[in-house]
Symmetry: C2
Subunit: 342 residues, 2 copies
DNA sequence: ATAAAGTGTGCGAAGGTTCTCTTAATGTGC
DNA sequence: GCACATTAAGAGAACCTTCGCACACTTTAT
């Protein structure tokens, strides 16, 4: 078989018009059982598959969902999205781009391109605050979209984990353990999560009459956590607990702390954020805030699908709650050395 | 503007025929500079974007590459593929499926569906040996494809890292350190990498007049490495070195070893495979075999592109070489306890 | 028996491109 | 100033599908 079969081929074989074949394929009710059977047999014989491009041309739909993400590298929600889309009969398309000075221009170009390919909906992963709500809305035109993992405002459909609540739990956990001298390694500037986590940490401390002892910025990956921790330690370990904006940096930080002859958690308690797979196998196992990325991905896709099917739903956000996972990298404040100082 | 502009809209505005606009868009040489300018201005004014579906319908191409992968969860080659595709003007589509008893049927269904959407090429990530070379070739029809990370045979275009060489280096490293009693945690049965690594390990040992002391199977993730190590240790630590089929399992194994009051590397040397980001930050930092997943992804995409552009290239494979990264989880055999036993 | 409603099927058009062919306009050489 | 090659641009068909409309035929209600 050189070129794939078309509606016409099937029609000829089944002895009906090609429109009738179309009706069978699309499960139109107005077709008799007899002809349906004939047609189905012909379809099977020819191994007919509807041409997606032609279908898309006439319907203006594509049965595809586009995932646009910054930094695909740690796109932890992707598996759930893919699985959800596939099980609902949607194709998944993917594009991502880097964090650079042209990001907004890139985003614009990307969206133009995507708009031309008639996707039915988009999932946007924009950890970085780079467009306003109304800008995005303009760029997207009439394509339904859901922002996953961050929020641009109450007018945008979004699915996210309550970062404030997560950091509140982390901070409270350390306070409950008796820590008063707390330092932080925060995430990338302008990142939505990083900002919220840092803000909330400071707020909770302030409410308890405390301030951060010190704070360094990292890039959400291990090496930067290591380096940030070394910088913090350079001034002497004048803190008993270290809050890291994610698990990767926490892992780096733990290594830095150990390298200075200090112990985790006896000398410094360390808490992470995310609960990545390696967190439980770090030494010591990492206390952290779990975010359920699978749930996030699944929920994002569901939200988008409901938007596609019922376009005039009022914009709303779906919020997931994180969970404190206490392991062994945090402990009650006991070290006499540190106690003496505080 | 309710509906997006078409060739006809642009043509009307520019005062030319729509075919001329098409020529401008596709950079046909036979168009005068004057009209080209007029048309380009009109395109800009109307924010015209060619309709991909219509284009795809007539050309039979889609400017899209499909990545079909088992277990998207750890698709480390994806970022490079995405980046490569994007920079070459190709869209990336993604589908993945689970490892289950219906895998072959799923694969078949997936490929049928993909064939109908006229992708220009496919990248297949099939870590699991589940179809033969000729089966795959039949399923794919005339769509160009490259298998990434595994090899089905010499007739299939593939890009991969030399697993044998990697394991050879790992084994030799341990032998050079004086280890003679070596155990292994192997990967998932039927996985291409798992098989090759295990085979090679056994072969190298045999060549040196040795045999594996023990061997347990894991599932390529941390918990299973932990459990496999515990099983190995249950018979007493009658080995001085442990080869793990990947870093995740190595991390789990290290934890298990420590939990039994043994030290890494003093009592047991542990070596991993892959060199994932966390490997350098484990405690102790993990000696491992580095695979360059970015290079693998980039090369896979390049290979596919060259296939698309020059279809009658003879099938061939591109081989990357791994690298031994010596860190602190392996050491020379010194422990007298173990020495006494051997 | 007749009109109305319902069912199954065919016909033609449309959707936005690209491709081949044809025509008009321009330029070249003697 | 004429035949001829070359270049620029238009005309029409084709790609494969869905959708609205019309037609024929069967059933139901009056």
């Amino acid at each position: 078989m050189p070129s794939p079969a078309t509606l016409h081929d099937v029609a000829k074989l089944a002895g009906v018009s090609y429109q009738t074949v179309s009706r069978v394929v699309n499960r139109s009710p107005n077709v008799s059982t007899r002809t349906m059977e004939k047609v189905n047999r012909a379809i099977a014989d020819l191994n007919y598959q509807p041409n997606r491009a032609a279908r898309s041309l006439v319907t203006g739909k594509s049965n595809a969902i586009h995932v646009l993400a910054f930094d695909i590298h740690n796109l932890r929600t992707l598996p759930a999205m893919q699985h959800g889309a596939y099980s609902q009969g949607y194709q998944l398309r993917l594009s991502g781009f880097q964090r650079n000075e042209d990001a907004v221009r890139d985003l614009r170009a990307c969206l133009r391109d995507i708009a031309a390919s008639q996707v039915d909906g988009m999932l946007l992963i924009l950890p970085w605050v780079l467009v306003t709500e109304s800008e995005l809305s303009d760029l997207m035109g009439k394509i339904p979209y859901v922002v996953v993992g961050s929020s641009l405002g109450y007018g945008t459909n979004a699915v996210l984990v309550d970062q404030r609540e997560g950091m509140r739990m982390a901070a409270q956990h350390l306070l409950d353990l008796g820590h008063r001298r707390i330092a932080a390694i925060q995430g990338i500037e302008h990142y939505y999560d990083a900002q919220l986590r840092q803000e909330t940490l400071e707020k909770v401390l302030r409410k308890n009459g405390l301030e951060l002892v010190a704070s360094e910025r990292g890039l959400f990956e291990m090496v930067s956590g290591y380096e940030a921790a070394l910088r913090l330690l350079a001034n002497g370990p004048d803190f008993t607990a270290l809050v890291c904006a994610n698990d990767e940096m926490a892992l780096g930080a733990i290594r830095a702390i150990k390298s200075q002859g200090l112990r985790v958690p006896q000398d410094v308690s360390v808490i992470g954020f995310d609960d990545l797979p390696f967190a439980i196998f770090s030494d010591p196992p990492l206390t952290t805030i779990r975010q359920d990325f699978n749930a996030l991905g699944t929920l994002g896709l569901q939200h988008l699908l409901s938007l596609i099917r019922t376009p005039d739903i009022a914009p709303h956000q779906r919020l997931l709650y994180p969970e404190l996972i206490v392991r062994e990298s945090t402990a009650t404040l006991t070290s006499p050395t540190i106690k003496g100082r505080s």
